[in-house]
Structure formats: C-alpha cells, structure tokens
C-alpha cells in the first residue's frame, strides 16, 4: 500500500473537506503547480486561484476550485487555508459562466464608480475562469473511459 497523508481544506466559513487517505495533492502555488506526496518537506506557500486536485487511495480523485489562499505542508498532513473552496460537484456552471461574462463586461467598460477596483475584477474573473475550467475538465474525464463512480464525495 502506498503511503498516505491527511488533508484538510478550511475556509473562513467552514471546514470544506477532510480526508485521511490522500496519496497526492496537486496545488496551484503562486510559482507554479506543486505536487505534494507524503513525507514532503515542511513548506508554507501562498496559492493562487486555481485547481486543487486530491488523489485518494483507490484512484479516487477530488478536484476543487480554490480562490487563492495558502497551504501548510507537513510530512503527514496538508492544510489548505483558502479564500474560497468549492468541490467540483458544488459548482453551478451556468452561474459561474454568467459571473464570468459579467466580470468581462466590467473589465471592458471599466470599473463602475464606487464599485470594485480593476484589480478586484481581474481577481474575480480569474476565480470564475478557474471554476469553469475545473468543471469542464471533470466532465471530459467522466465522458471518457473512467473507473470513477458517479459520486465519491464521502469525506474522511
């Protein structure tokens, strides 16, 4: 049996996810994607908005869209403190698409007075694009030959 580690994803609002049998974590570090295996050297790193993939034992894969944050890596444990974190199955693709278009329109027309700043709109756009990307990738995955069941959202 391959070595495993435990993992937690927490946001300000709640603990989003918790698992004990994680074989690998792929996280969007600010300086590029990072693959974390058990017995990794301790690291604290900032994350950018992107896709966080958790591989659990038995080939189960859990993709999350996270909106930036940071991650603490210990040899036996990974803790992700995210601004936002959504499991792929929680994402409403139509709403994400609508939000993306709204953000794009705001970028074209310039930020409204008194509203969010340009940088914030760019951030939001990035987050929405990540969510859409995560869902699309998952769908392709499922359409192809896959050993995955329809629902493996059983935490811990």
């Amino acid at each position: 049996m391959a070595a495993t580690m435990s993992l937690e994803i927490v946001t300000i609002e709640r603990k989003v996810y918790e698992a004990d049998d994680v074989e690998m974590v792929i996280a969007p570090g600010v300086e590029g994607e990072m693959g974390i295996l058990p017995r990794h050297t301790p690291v604290l790193t900032a994350l950018k908005p992107g896709e966080l993939i958790i591989r659990r034992s038995g080939g189960v894969e859990e993709p999350f869209a996270i909106g930036g944050g940071f991650m603490e890596v210990r040899p036996d444990k990974v803790i992700v403190l995210a601004d936002t974190a959504e499991h792929v199955d929680e994402i409403d693709i139509e709403r994400a698409e609508a939000a993306r278009q709204r953000a794009e329109r705001l970028l074209r027309e310039g930020p409204p007075p008194g509203g969010p700043s340009l940088a914030e709109i760019r951030q939001a756009l990035m987050r929405h694009e990540v969510r859409i990307k995560v869902v699309r990738r998952r769908r392709r995955h499922r359409a192809g030959p896959s050993s995955m069941g329809p629902d493996e959202m059983s935490a811990g």
């Binding site: 609002e13 603990k15 604290l44 930036g68 601004d83």
Partner: protein, 290 residues
C-alpha cells in the same frame, strides 16, 4: 357594565401580545443557535491562521521592514468599527454597547471616527458621537464572508493610506444566553501571538512577505466575520431573553386582569341582587301598607 367589557378587551389584547412575544422568542432562539454554529465552524481557520502568523512573525526578518499590516505607527487617528443591531426590543444590549463605545472614545488619546455597522449605532453616533467615516447595513443572519469583505477592505484601505493608524472593532461578545459582554478588540495593525508555534521548520515559498500578503487580509476578514457572528448571536439571545420576560409579564398581567374582571363581575352581580332584593322589599312594604 362598560368596565367589565373593557377589562375583557384588555385581557384579550394582552393575551395577543403574549403570543407575539412568545413567537419572537422562538424565532430569536433559532437564529441564535445558527449564529453560534457558524461561529464554531469558522474556528479551525482562525486557529490555523493565528498559528501560521505567529510562526512567520517569529522568523528573523533579515533587515526587511515588517509587513505594512503589522507595522505599529504613532497613533494620530483611530477608527472604530461599531457593530450594532438594526432594531431594538433586545433589552439593554444596545445601550450597553454604546456605553462601552463612548468610554473608549472618551479615553482615546487620538480622535476617533466611527465605521458604523447596523442602524442603532449609526443613528446614535450621528446624533451624539464623533463623525462617521463610513456606514454599512447590518449584515444578514445567513452570513457569508462576502457580506463583510467590504467592511474589512475599507478598514485595510483606510489603514494603509494612513487615514487611521489603528482600527478597533467594538461588538458584543456572546458568553451565554444570559450574558453578552460588549468588547473592543484591536483589528489593525495585526498583533501576532508569539507563543503560537508550529512543530516543524518550514520552507516558506515564495517568501514570507508573499505568504503574509495572503494571510493578513484574510485574517482581518476573519476577525470581522467572527465579530459579526458574535454580535448576531448576542443580539438574538438578548432579544430572546427580553421576549421571554415580556411573555411572562403578559401572563402575569392576564392573571391580574382576570382577577379584576372576576371581581368586577361579582360586584355587578351583587349589585343586581341587592337591587332586586331592595325592589322586592319595597314592593312587600307597599303591599303591607295597602
């Protein structure tokens, strides 16, 4: 007769009031529980964030300036985020928090400006207090971080551009259903807890400053978020207790009124009997004389 009918009408209306206050008590009780659950749910993040901050702050800075949100500056202007309910009917909650806020303002060595969250505090400060710097509506009970991020951002911006050299947050801490304590906590600059420690030597990527750039604003948001949740829980529990008292008073009043009503009814009956007896007696005497 009119007094008996009037008393009856009063009993009915007091009973109605009692029903309303009992319903409000139940509503407040469930809202209070939900706010408490949310507070608990945000605790893991809070603990972890504090730990990491303590760890990074304890690192040798290597000649770098501390992160702007950690920098202590001479205090010339103070901001106070005042979290209050929108509505009354919550017993002494609002006056308690305003008293604490005023003590803070009076004792502050530098002039204070108010960032009002919730209408009660705003209205009072407009009339009697220092100038308002900004005002926000009371965040909804189904609180999300996005509801309070404008407040946190405003505080951070005002601090970074030097409008305020310190920002405090004033809210009511939920101790238990009977006790809510108004408190004032420092929000900015952030004070790391040096005793927090992590069990290992970490590589920090890409740099401590970059991690702090993410961590510190998130911590400010988290503190505001938790303060609002505590304030919500306090508001609902204070209202619950106030409404329970009101219900009990209504019941007591109904009891008293019922007693008065019965007395008045008895009196009326006695009077009628006396009238009849008197009439009969008069009739008898008149017949005897005839």
């Amino acid at each position: 007769m009119s007094t008996v009918r009037e008393i009856k009408r009063r009993i009915k209306s007091v009973k109605n009031i009692g029903q309303v206050t009992r319903a409000m008590e139940a509503v407040s009780a469930s809202k209070m529980r939900r706010a408490q659950e949310r507070t608990l749910a945000s605790r893991p993040f809070a603990e972890k964030a504090r730990e990491v901050l303590g760890y990074i702050a304890a690192q040798p800075a290597g000649g770098e300036l501390p992160h702007p949100l950690l920098q202590q500056r001479p205090v010339k202007q103070v901001g106070l985020i005042l979290i209050t309910p929108d509505r009354g009917l919550a017993g002494p909650l609002v006056s308690n928090i305003l008293r604490v806020a005023f003590r803070f303002i009076d004792n502050s060595p530098a002039p204070v400006q108010i960032i009002a969250v919730g209408r009660k505090g705003r209205d009072f400060m407009l009339r009697h207090g220092p100038p308002l710097y900004a005002e926000f509506p009371r965040p909804p009970d189904a609180l999300q971080v996005t509801d309070i991020s404008p407040i946190a951002r405003l505080a951070i911006d005002a601090y970074l551009e030097g409008t305020f050299d310190q920002v405090f947050v004033c809210y009511t801490d939920f101790v238990n259903t009977m006790t809510q304590r108004p408190v004032i906590r420092q929000l900015l600059p952030i004070q790391p807890e040096p005793d927090a420690h992590l069990p290992a030597d970490f590589l920090i990527e890409p740099s401590p400053a970059a991690v702090l750039d993410h961590l510190l604003p998130a911590m400010v948001e988290m503190q505001v978020y938790q303060a609002v949740l505590e304030a919500h829980a306090s508001e609902h529990s204070a209202r619950m207790v106030a409404m329970r008292n009101a219900t009990e008073n209504a019941e007591q009043l109904v009891e008293d009124l019922t007693l008065t009503y019965n007395k008045a009814r008895q009196e009326a009956i006695t009077k009628e009997i006396l009238d009849i007896a008197g009439g009969v007696e008069a009739l008898r005497q008149a017949m005897e004389r005839a």
